[in-house]
Amino acid sequence: MADSPGRRRRIRLSALIVVLGVAVLVAAIWTDVDARNRSSEESAALAGANTHLATLRHDVATTQFAKAVTSAKRDSLQASIASTTSQLAATNEALANADVHAYVQGVGINTLQTCLGGVKTALNQIAARNNTQAAKDISAVSGPCTQLAGGSGTGLVYPFDFPDPSVILVGQTYFAYATNSVAGNIQIIDSNDLVHWSAVGNALPSLPAWATPDYTWAPAVAMIGGTFVLYYAVNVAGTADECISVATATQPAGPFLDKSTAPLECQKSLGGSIDPASFIDTDGTSYLVWKSGGPGSSKIWSQQLDPSGTAFVPGSNPTSLLVPDQPWEAGTVEAPNLITTGGHYYLFYSGNDWNSSNYAVGVATCTGPLGPCADASPHPILASGPGVAGPGGESVFADTAGNFWIAFHAWVPDAVGFPNSRDLYLRRLTLSGPVPTVATSG
């Protein structure tokens, strides 16, 4: 039986519908599968990316930790470096200081050894009774020994035992005389600049027969009538009497010769006479000033000398110039030194205990060489201070330019009292005011 056209049309339509439906389904399935596949792939990629990201983040965390640890280590190292550098700097500084200290010590040791060597040599020379050479030996090491005694800033110019100095200017040369010590009975040193002093020797090689050896002190020299006259204190042999004698020389360096048969002055009833000093007034008249008595009874005297300077003017008598009346003097005035300038008379003197750091220098003003005198100040004009202890035994003189100086002895502060040395100091003296003033340094 043949299909009718309608049926064939329906069949074709049905087939077409089916084919279309199948095609739609296939397309839907295909796209669905494709979407699923793409989704799965994307998910897998996402998972991989997340895994990678997690790994990276882990690496980041690990690296951050490593960085933190390393940074901490670096900071610790840098702190250690800073600390070490600081320690190194401090150590190097300490080392440099130690080296400097060691160098300074080395210089000091060399100075000490040089000074000690000179003193030892001098000691040996004295033991061999060669006092002049002993004086030259210590004089040769004066520089190093001056440094050891504190340097020249205090006015120290001769760092050896040179008590009761007396300085005169002859021509262009200064001569200083002192109590018996290394050089002998009366020591002499000289200088052309007041800074460098050299030993000359013993001004008084021999003593008169009535004198006791090794007891000569407090010299003073003046040129009177063309002759150099030396006054000095001396003990009378066989007694305890302390007296003043006189010797003469044609040269300031001596040798001075004492032809006396007896002391020039010896106030036995007053406890003896010592510390002589000559004074030549503006009219050329010469005087001798000195001290009598001991602690509590001391007194300073003046008396005119005859034109030779070796004796007092006949008929003259000692005149009292000064007695101890100030607390700082502690009952003792001694070592007088009278000068005149500008119409004024100044009597310099020492007070208190010579063997202590209380010793000091005072000044009185006088109306003339025979007084009367009065203290210019209730206080000493020169006393213990930095680098100087117990200054005294002064001698005032003018230099070649007319400037006044005061020469004095003093102990080094940590070595006060005999047998330590009383060294020689020089300082400028100003006489323009009502009270003379002494410079505080050399």
């Binding site: 049905s14 089916v18 439906g21 739609v24 389904l25 839907a28 669905d32 979407a35 699923r36 793409r38 989704s39 994307e42 998910s43 990629a45 996402l46 990316a49 997340n50 990201l53 990276l56 690496d59 980041v60 690296t63 960085k67 390393t70 940074s71 280590k73 670096r74 190292l77 840098q78 250690s80 070490t84 550098t85 190194l88 150590t91 300490a94 080392l95 130690a98 060691a102 010590q105 000091g108 040791i109 000490l112 050894q113 000074c115 000690l116 003193v119 001098a122 000691l123 004295i126 002993a134 210590i138 035992d161 010590s181 290394v182 090794d214 070595a415 005999f418 047998p419 330590n420 040395s421």
Partner: protein, 170 residues
């Protein structure tokens, strides 16, 4: 009507049924079933595909974010590694510097100890020399005025210092 009449003329059980065209009802049922099946298939496939595409889109977006983060983290990691390398280099140089400084410090401390020992030794020598000098000078002053026994006593009092000074001076 013709088909129905023809079917009625055939003997009933012996006529092959497969050859018989499906009834209109059956065909409709088949069409409806097929349509339902088609609709069901589409009803499943379309949402599924939408879901898959959504999932894809989310995954894609997340992947983009992840890749961006990866780039960021990678850059961060690179910077960190660079910093770490710099730090390690610094640590290396600092360690060397510290070692050198420590060595110098040790040397300086050793030198300082030696210098201080030298200073102490010289200080002792200076003390001995000063003491000796004081005694010898006292002896000199005593002997200068004829006090021999006093001079000897002064020398004896500083004899140990003088001996020590001479020994130290070599």
């Amino acid at each position: 009507m013709t088909d129905v009449l023809e079917a009625d003329r055939r003997p009933f059980p012996t006529e092959p049924r497969a050859r018989r065209p499906a009834s209109r009802r059956t065909r409709w049922i088949l069409w409806i079933a097929a349509g339902a099946l088609f609709a069901a298939a589409l009803g499943y496939l379309i949402p599924d595909q939408v879901q898959a595409r959504d999932h894809y889109g989310q995954a894609h977006t997340a992947l983009g974010v992840a890749r961006q983060q990866t780039q960021t983290v990678t850059r961060q990691l690179d910077e960190l590694r660079r910093d770490l390398n710099i730090l390690k280099t610094q640590v290396g140089s600092d360690s060397t510097a510290l070692s050198q400084d420590s060595s110098q410090l040790l040397g300086a401390q050793t030198a300082l100890a030696a210098a201080q020992a030298h200073v102490t030794q010289q200080k002792s020598l200076i003390t001995s020399l000063q003491t000796c000098l004081v005694g010898v000078e006292r002896a000199l002053n005593e002997l200068a005025i004829g006090k021999l026994s006093n001079a000897i006593a002064a020398l004896n009092s500083v004899s140990p210092s003088c001996t020590a000074a001479e020994a130290s001076s070599g």
